[in-house]
Amino acid sequence: MSRGLVYGLKKFWSEIFSGDLLILFFSIVLAVTSISSVGFLGDRLKSSMQMQASSILGADLVLRSATEIDSKYLNLASSLDLKSAETATFLSMIIADEDNLLTSIKAVTPSYPLRGKLTVVNFDNSPIQHSGSPPQGSIWIEKKVSESLELNQSGNIIVGNKNFIVEGIIQDYPDRNSSFVGFYPVAIVNINDVDAMGVIQTGSRVVYRQLFSGTQKNLDRFVESLDTLPPNIRLQNAIDVGDNLGEDIANSTIFFNLASLFTIIISVIAAMMAVRRYASRNLLHTSLMKVFGASKTFILGHQITQLFLLIITASSFGLIFGYALQHLLISTLQGIINADLPPPSFRPVILGLITATFVVFATAAPYIKILSDTEPIRILRNDFTIKLSSNFIIYLVAFFSMFGFLGILFQDLKLILYIVITLVVVTFALYSIGRLLLYALSFMQFSNGTGWKLGLKNLVQRGNESILQVIIFGLSLLFLVVLAETRTDLVDSWSETLDEDTPNYFLFNIQEYNLKPISNYFEDQAQITPDFTPLIRGRLLSAKRPGSDVNFDNLMDREANLTWQNLLPVSNKLVAGKWWAEGDEVKEVSVDQEIAASMDLEIGDELTFSAGGKTFSVSVTSFREIEWQSFSPNFFFILSPAAGKELPN
């Protein structure tokens, strides 16, 4: 085989420039450009999402609990080369002179934050600190705090039993959250001051967090080592948060994926035709080589070397074009993607190389076999044709391996199946139309024809090739139409996703006596009537199935927002049970179907909640599917007004 390799190496460029390999070369360049441009784009968007997600958490991985978290997790992280930090967040009144303000106190260790940026400045905006914790006895506050309490630099404030000196203003910090402490202005203190404050006592509501960051490999090992966490500790992963963030972007890349999928199909079809031509032409060359002493392994070596070099060179061009195209796509998406994207990983490069290898070997491998098996006697017979029956098998092999490959590449078997069915049906329809046209043309007289008549005569004479061209042209048009339609659909669905009156701001903690004035204010100022939703934090205490002693082991172990209302929210869909009638006096609850499934709830189960200092039981009467992206307030649990009317809001 080695002589064949050397021969293939020597003849590669002359083969490329001779034209037979050129179409195959361009097909591969096209396929690799297409798949790598989408790959580079997706990869950079995903990395960017994950960086933003890490910034939201302040870390790559967070353990969160309402009770103090065992330090063994910090030791474990340290043994796995992970960086760690701790925070404890709670609400406390801070007092300055005679003024006071309910503030979210964030007590942090010096390594905080592990991801994202903490910016603290002096009152004159000169920078002080970009990470870490204030020294003991000092406090950093948000501008809202300094304004409310009329504080100056080095002013004194009291939190619990401890005096603090104001050291700076927090301009920016990561891990802002929407839990109960998220609505209040923030102050950051050193975690070693917490005991001296004496504000955390039994029953205090505190969010304890252990933050971790490091390489993905070490993070994975850390998660594996965690085994099963106690039920009171929640694990938050930046990748999960990033996946949620990236969902909308991911939807938009579906369009690009579809475009690149079609491009690959067209490239494969073009490659199949190019390879067929290449193989037919190469039959003479191969037969001659056999006559002059080439063995089967020599021919194989020669062909494989050529195709391998073809993959390398065409992929290199394809990857360069793909990277450039990705830049172009990003510049056109600049309005949507408002971030500096990190550089891509090597994944798209590998994906491009795999695509090129697939395109070449799915289409060329069967021909390589035909070429290496060719008999030298063809030279004497002047027979350099490839049998149609062997073509059929080749096309079948290429067809199935192409869809197998696309299934793996795009990981969407349903989409691939739809495309296969469509392709088969459309190909059959185009074949029938082509046959009918040729049949009709065969009755025409072309004997004294010139110009267009000669063209038609040629079409009839080269019947099978003409039909193949009709099919390929028809399929290309079909792909273009599908892409144009998908693009329109995508743009429409984007614009339909958010109504014109989608809210930009939400007001929280409105007391009942404030409803009317606020409503009046908005009616006067903006001629709109705001929707008010009652809201109370509650905890699910237990669940019971009447007439059964089933244990509910997976109950939600954290607080959740509860609401009550007469009507099913627009962004919710009832998937089981019945919604209550207006004026119904039975205490009922409607549960999000996913959370219900995770807790093994059934219609008719009885749930006991604790909220606003009251304990009450409600019967599960329906399950809902929630559209979380609707920008409406959504709830895991919606109580019937009969259940909610006794609760404070």
Binding site: F292, G293, S295, P376, N382
Partner: protein, 168 residues
């Protein structure tokens, strides 16, 4: 006879080997080392130059001096000045000269020529015949000719006549 195909019955001994008992790769080995071929339709590779075409058998056998030997063969057929021309740029007679150079470049013990003048005009035909017979002497090989041209057949030492698949 040349080992390009196998008989449906009987055996063929070529240069001491019963080629009907050998597999295709072994037969190819014998052809590459000791056999030369000239065809009626020349069968030059159109995308290769005259020199590359002549080098083909030596490149397959991995001969390090393929280029020098091919140049020498082209000189022997009087085409050294056309060595850089592509096959498509040559006349019929020139093509057959290149084909002859290719057939003798490995100094074969036996040279098969299938209707070597069948596609040539009378003038070129005469020149090619002379060339073939003079080269046969020069490289001391056995020339086996297949032809319908009786005048060409008469130049051979031995003539076998085939009619309807039967040796007469």
């Amino acid at each position: 006879m040349a080992g390009l195909d196998l008989p449906t019955s009987g055996s063929v001994t070529l240069l001491g080997s019963d080629i009907t008992k050998l597999d295709e790769d072994k037969r190819a080995q014998i052809r590459g080392k000791d056999v030369g071929f000239v065809f009626q339709s020349f069968h030059l590779m159109p995308r290769l130059t005259a020199l590359d075409n002549v080098m083909l058998p030596l490149e397959i056998s991995g001969d390090r001096y393929a280029m020098d030997k091919a140049q020498e063969a082209l000189e022997q057929v009087g085409l050294s000045k056309r060595s850089k021309h592509f096959a498509t740029q040559l006349s019929g007679g020139e093509k057959q000269r290149v084909a002859i150079a290719r057939s003798i470049v490995n100094k074969p013990k036996i040279l098969f020529a299938d209707e070597p003048t069948g596609n040539l005009d009378i003038k070129s035909s005469g020149a090619i015949t002379d060339l073939l017979f003079s080269l046969k002497e020069l490289i001391n090989t056995t020339l086996v000719l297949v032809t319908h041209d009786l005048s060409l057949a008469e130049k051979c030492d031995e003539v076998f006549e085939l009619s309807e698949g039967q040796l007469l």
